[in-house]
Symmetry: C2
């Protein structure tokens, strides 16, 4: 008969012959309870199969022990996996700190802002994790204005630099390492295939390549993100004779790889970005983003190095250095 109603703290108190508060103490701060009574209470808890009701506790403490994160609509592309990995990692690290992760979905900015308002108004979460921040991010501005604790996966690219905590991948460091590696292994002419101007992270990744190239020169191409687009862009270039190619994404890298194979240069060293399964399957080198580190960093920003409750945050940032995977 598993339908029996769950035992409450009052039931345990009666069974053990103590007050409710003492039971609560045994559960939450056992150290202040005398050993003999603690054992008595623990036996009663055991006997009744008592487990504190999370809802009641949250109402009383005004802490939900829950953080929210947006799950982006499935984009269908090669990328997007990085965010999924990030959510995976966030869930695991959060569980280790006794936090739950709540998802919300939004297709548009307006919808997301509405969701953020709802989550904050109803007191559903202690903190929010934003992903994919952009220059002058309206979500960040809104949360700041409302005083909702949050941290972002992504830099505050604009001027509000110091206004909230964030963690991001150091894209420039990634492409710098990739370029340096190719310069050493392949030759002087290492080209770059990036996105059209206007993308913050695109600029960041291109900067790494430029810095590593120094005085050397090599073609710099752009294409919208996508396999076909990358293939098209590189097709025109190959006759120019390059020694290697650094790309802003795995999708572009795969396109470039296909173009290289078609042009009879299957051995052309190419490096992508994101280390997706597709790149792995094709044996293409890539820059691995380590979203697990980002997740850990975000939680540390929100709750301190060890804490299990959301605390006041310093608005500081953390750049995680990605890792080059050579294949």
């Amino acid at each position: 008969m598993p339908e029996r109603k769950a035992a409450t703290i009052g039931d345990v108190a009666r069974e053990a012959g103590v007050s409710r508060q003492t039971v609560s103490n045994v559960v939450n701060s056992p150290s202040i309870v005398k050993e003999s009574t603690r054992l008595k209470v623990q036996a009663a808890i055991e006997a009744l199969g008592y487990s504190p009701n999370a809802l009641a506790r949250r109402l009383r403490t005004q802490r939900t022990s829950t953080i929210a994160v947006k799950l982006d609509p499935y984009s269908g592309g090669v990328s997007g996996v990085v965010l999924d990995r990030f959510v995976h990692a966030l869930t695991e690290s959060a569980a280790a700190r006794g936090l739950r992760v709540l998802l919300y979905a939004a297709r548009t900015l307006e919808e997301e802002l509405r969701h953020l308002d709802e989550l904050a108004d109803a007191g559903e979460v202690d903190a929010i994790v934003l992903t994919g921040t952009s220059r002058g991010d309206r979500r960040a501005a809104r949360l700041l204005e409302r005083g909702v604790p949050f941290a972002a996966f992504g830099r505050p690219w604009g001027t509000e630099a110091a206004a909230h905590p964030w963690v991001d991948i150091d894209g420039a460091a990634g492409t710098r390492a990739a370029t340096a590696d190719l310069l050493e292994r392949a030759g002087e002419r290492i080209a770059f295939l990036g996105w059209p101007a206007g993308s913050e992270s695109g600029n960041d990744r291109e900067r790494g390549w430029r810095e590593a190239m120094g005085e050397r020169t090599a073609p710099r191409l752009t294409a919208e993100d996508g396999v076909a687009e990358g293939q098209e862009a590189v097709k025109a270039l190959l006759p120019n004779g390059i020694d290697g190619l650094v790309c802003a994404s795995d999708a572009l890298a795969i396109g470039a790889h296909l173009a290289a194979v078609q042009a009879g240069r299957p051995e052309l060293p190419i490096v992508g970005f994101d280390n997706t399964a597709a790149a792995e399957a094709l044996g293409i080198s890539s820059v691995e983003q380590l979203p697990e580190r980002v997740a850990a960093g975000i939680l540390e920003m929100l709750m301190g190095p060890e804490g299990n409750k959301v605390a006041k945050q310093d608005p500081k940032g953390l750049l995680v250095e990605p890792r080059l995977i050579v294949r």
Copy 2:
């Protein structure tokens, strides 16, 4: 000064000069309130920026309006994307019905069982969504025993067939369609590349191929799931001369494709399963699982076609027919 404490239902009642209950009625069942008082109350709500506290409501109603779903650890392979898409879709459909989705992470079965117990004991969720069910699934058994409402993405492969609601992809229908298509377009000898015996969904997918082949014969290979494994398995086969190949996964299909290219038969028609980004990028046909339909089906099982609260479920199943994407 956004630090002002949030207004409660009592504040609104005082402001509007009515009782708490009337405010509650305006929020939850406006139709039973006289128009004049309703307007008065709505004005007060507006003025104070009142929003009901979700925690208090949940404690009183004993409904969390939350469902839990496990997020698998990132597997790193080509597959796994289907589950992510499913979670995406589930979150969106749930939001449309006023439900939230809570994530939990687990690396082992034991850990998952522990999490399930905790979620149930603490009354954190109204229902649980299981993914990747197997024969004699211990999680399903546990939840049934404890009386926790749940539905599964995946068939109850064993004998407990009718014990709980489930939704699954009709894998056999997918491979049947793929095989039929190749028989029509490519020729009589359509081979199958599956997994080693023991996988329920593997058997299911192979069955579809067999059924479509009927009296015709063609090689049937197996390999562990993976690009390299698929490539190896097909390398030996190609001299045999086949007209097409149906695979149990995109990873195998990609491996097969690479083997075909190396063997000088790049045009060999191959069909994968899951329609992952990698298959798309390489122009390989694939069977698309439509996890969005599965998500909608799961919610319907839990809450009825229109409902927004978890109701008693009939233990019935639903098979979703996948779609063949020809490239």
